[in-house]
């Protein structure tokens, strides 16, 4: 969720500076960032579900072995 917050701030920067320079390219870029973030969060949550099924925990510190 912190990652989403950081993406939000990046998008904010792009839109603000695009507005400042009067250029629409920033908004196009934000559009692509939104697309990538949607795909990324879907994959990340799927990974989380797989992790929870095998470990019964989602703490990254518990992931200390290579064995599946």
């Amino acid at each position: 969720m912190s990652l989403e917050l950081m993406f939000l701030s990046v998008n904010f920067n792009l839109i603000t500076l695009g507005n400042y320079l009067g250029d629409l390219t920033g908004q196009v870029f934000v559009f692509f960032v939104l697309t990538v973030v949607a795909a990324e969060s879907a994959i990340g949550l799927a990974l989380l579900i797989v992790l929870f099924r095998s470990k019964k925990s989602i703490d990254v510190d518990d992931l200390s072995e290579l064995k599946g």
Binding site: S2, G22, D23, A38
Partner: protein, 198 residues
């Protein structure tokens, strides 16, 4: 003070407050709901900046799809309230350093006014419409058509990866095996019974 400025100050103050709540709350559900609030507030701010299409998209796609997915997963996994960790002190210097560097970059940007830069994608392909959505769509389907298709591919990749990762084969399900169907020969299916007497 005009109404835009008042709106900006109110909504940005609320945005900062909810963002801090997102990272400080120990209950993941509460923090996700605060994240939804911060998306709404920033959609209003984007509207003020003249990015109407993106602010609608932020609410529809983010709040409507991504955050609902997030909340769904968080509630399904039934995580009890996170253990209190003091480890974030460890990352404070690094985070502060990144924060200061980014702020310096933005200050540098605004101090050196880049007025002499004349590149403007909208002027470049001669479409100037009143509507932000129209301009954005025009730009997306002319200048950035290749990137648009790559974005579609990335979404397809996301769908396939999520399904493959979470798919569990149920042995009770009946399904076809095409290679077995093709390999089947006459002998497996047809039995000629000979030697039968009347």
């Amino acid at each position: 003070m005009n109404i835009e400025l008042i709106t900006f100050f109110i909504f940005s103050a609320l945005l900062i407050f909810t963002s801090i709540k997102v990272i400080s709350s120990s209950n993941p559900v509460l923090s996700a709901i605060n994240l939804v609030f911060s998306f709404f507030l920033s959609a209003v701010l984007w509207l003020l900046l003249g990015a109407e299409f993106l602010s609608i998209i932020l609410i529809l796609v983010y709040v409507g799809a991504v955050m609902v997915l997030f909340l769904f997963v968080v509630m399904m996994l039934d995580i009890n309230i996170a253990r209190k960790k003091a480890a974030y002190i460890k990352y404070l210097p690094l985070g502060l350093g990144v924060f200061i560097i980014f702020n310096l970059l933005i200050i540098y940007f605004f101090v050196n006014t880049f007025e002499n830069i004349n590149y403007n994608a909208v002027n470049n392909i001669n479409i100037i419409s009143e509507s932000n959505t129209e301009n954005l769509g025009y730009l997306l389907f002319t200048e950035y058509i290749l990137e648009f298709e790559i974005a579609g591919l990335i979404l397809l990749l996301g769908i396939i990866a999520a399904i493959v990762l979470t798919y569990r084969k149920n042995p009770d399900n009946k399904f076809q095996n095409p290679s077995k169907q093709i390999e089947v020969s006459k002998k497996d299916r047809l039995k000629v019974i000979t030697g039968l007497k009347e």
